[in-house]
Assembly symmetry: C2
DNA sequence: TAGTCCTACTTAAACGTTTAAGTTAAAAAC
DNA sequence: GTTTTTAACTTAAACGTTTAAGTAGGACTA
């Protein structure tokens, strides 16, 4: 491994001069700079990030917390998309991405905070974790620059999809199709997205003079197809059934469609279904899913921008939600009410 | 931030004693150890990984190269699964995962090798990249402990799915169903997996005394649904059509099924389709995809095991392929030949 | 001509660890 | 009672950078 010392010995300049020449300081002669850079290249010099980080207190590394308790982890299509774009954006600014975990080795556990400090990350991006946990709280209270996706905490920027207008669009769309009996399978209400989508469902319904029936609100906490299936079964068991269902997640919607089919009915002929997320999968199933598409690229990029601005001290860490707009994408799982088949009464 | 020096000043012991006490060396008195650890805890001491790495030449960080030129990146379901398990396995051994890229900041570009050396990673796991590139070659030739997925290079362990036995199973399965006219949509033959699957398709066919027709071999280089769709169109335009198609990837298979449907035919009634990968998506489409499931968990875990053994010097870096077994999963996209509908002649 | 200002460097300390090589005093050996 | 061993600690250097402060000499100023 070549170090500054090696270049210093070879060229006769001091280590300081080598360092300053390589970093392009103005108090070094132009021919010295050229000489030093040539020798550095020739000797295959590569700066040591640990030494630099130790001295400068800047690691050029960003920690990512991706702690999916459901165990699906990186495979989660939505988060993976956001992370992908976030990664590209911070890399473009010169940062590397490091995963921060609670687990470190076989030992009991560290906390996110400890792990972040130990590795001297310049900032942290929280994609998902258990927000009630003390480990998360500890991190949130610290002064490590942090941006979090879809969760509002003290002192931390929250990057979230703007559910409001697109959910209004969903209700408008369904009303336009003649639906009035609209149900909602909602996500975990302890969770920012789950809570907000539910709130906006209710307010959008009322705004359109549609009744919000309590038996038409069913929980699908963990956003899985299984929960969507079970929730839809509950809805189908109601005497006066809904003709349309808005689901807080695409996987819930896919489960719901399965339940509809397993009950001998058809989507969208008997029940229209709308999802939320816009994952690729929705395009491959039959019928193709009408859904609210979250702009994952924009979410990743915006998260990166805010985090870097906080790191650079351009903006302060505050509890503020930055909304990313969403888009209703109409596909095949929603249909005009009056075409409903006779067997569905 | 608390350092060893702070604890040293508070307790009166030397920095060395503090360090050795915290690291559990045997030449420190038991009550000293207790005292030091208590004070460390009380002062919120967290070891600085940069300083430690600088001195010990061990960063407890593993670099991951995930350089999907197709641009799909982290969203790729197969690689994401492998990475997820790899990550868990190395984290359990105390390592963190850092993404290694060619791009570093806005500047021209670094190489993977430079990036890995700069961040002093202890090893590198190559999930996917352009294996022909000089950047990859440079890394492969270096003596950085490296394990690569599905590609054979000099001096590097290759972790790959065992295509042989499962592809034989595929052919057996199709033959059992009465198929003899079997086509293959193959992946990039410059790529280890693409090449091997094609080879094993041919040898398995011959072993079963089935003819391998050259017009039944169509390329689907980049494994996308679009390529599968196009390749299937070519196959359907042949006078004496195949009754079954084995695709080198699930996305190819999904595209192929679409082409079949768009041609007014049905899968599996008119053409049976078999995929390769076992991605979740295959279970959500209609018909559910018969496919060869790659054991992504096992691949991730095995890659981690080998890499750590190389890092620890337990085994040497050599050009050797470690095969992970695969499994034929029969679902709905394959069917008995004699049930084929009349319109398909 | 003396003073000031540049330019192009160097010295030395520091960042927070680890570790080889001591040191000291008490205990054990003979 | 002297020597040897051991336990429990310390000193000082090192890892590879960056950086505040300094220096030497030439050029400009007045």
């Amino acid at each position: 491994m070549t170090t500054l010392k090696d270049i210093s010995q070879k060229t006769g300049y001091s280590i300081t001069t080598i360092s300053r020449a390589l970093n392009g300081y103005s108090d070094i002669g132009t021919d010295t700079i050229k000489k030093v850079r040539d020798v550095a290249l020739e000797m295959g010099y590569i700066a040591n990030a640990s030494a630099r980080s130790l001295k400068t207190r800047k690691s050029w590394t960003i920690g990512v917390i991706f702690d999916e308790h459901s165990g699906i982890g990186l495979r989660h299509p939505l988060f993976a998309n956001v992370l992908e774009e976030f990664k590209k954006a911070v890399e473009y600014e010169g940062y590397d991405v490091l995963f921060i975990t609670r687990q470190k080795g076989k030992k009991p556990t560290t906390s996110f905070y400890n792990h972040a400090i130990e590795k001297s990350v310049d900032g942290v991006f929280v994609l998902c974790t258990d927000y009630q946990s003390s480990e998360y709280q500890e991190l949130a209270k610290s002064n490590i620059p942090t941006v979090v996706l879809d969760h509002l905490s003290n002192n931390i920027y929250n990057i979230a999809s703007d559910n409001r207008s697109s959910i209004a669009d969903v209700i408008n769309h369904l009303k336009d199709l003649g639906h009035t009996k609209i149900a909602h399978i909602f996500g975990d209400p302890l969770n920012f997205a789950g809570l907000k989508r539910r709130e906006h469902f209710i307010s959008s319904m009322l705004l359109q003079d549609l009744d919000v029936r309590s038996d038409f609100l069913v929980e699908g906490t963990t956003y899985t197809t299984e929960e969507g299936y079970a929730a839809m079964k509950v809805l189908l068991s109601i005497e006066d059934k809904p003709t349309a269902v808005f689901c807080a997640g695409d996987m819930l919607a896919i489960g719901a469609i399965r339940a509809i089919e397993d009950a001998g009915l058809k989507c969208p002929d008997d029940v229209s279904v709308v999802g939320f997320d816009g994952i690729d999968l929705g395009d491959y199933i039959t019928p193709k899913l009408t859904t609210v598409k979250q702009k994952t690229k924009s979410m990743g990029r915006t998260s990166a921008d805010y985090l870097i601005n906080i790191i650079d001290g351009v903006i302060k860490n505050v509890a503020k939600t930055v909304y990313i707009d969403t888009e209703l994408v109409i596909k095949e799982s929603t249909k005009l009410l009056n075409t409903i088949s006779v067997k569905y009464k």
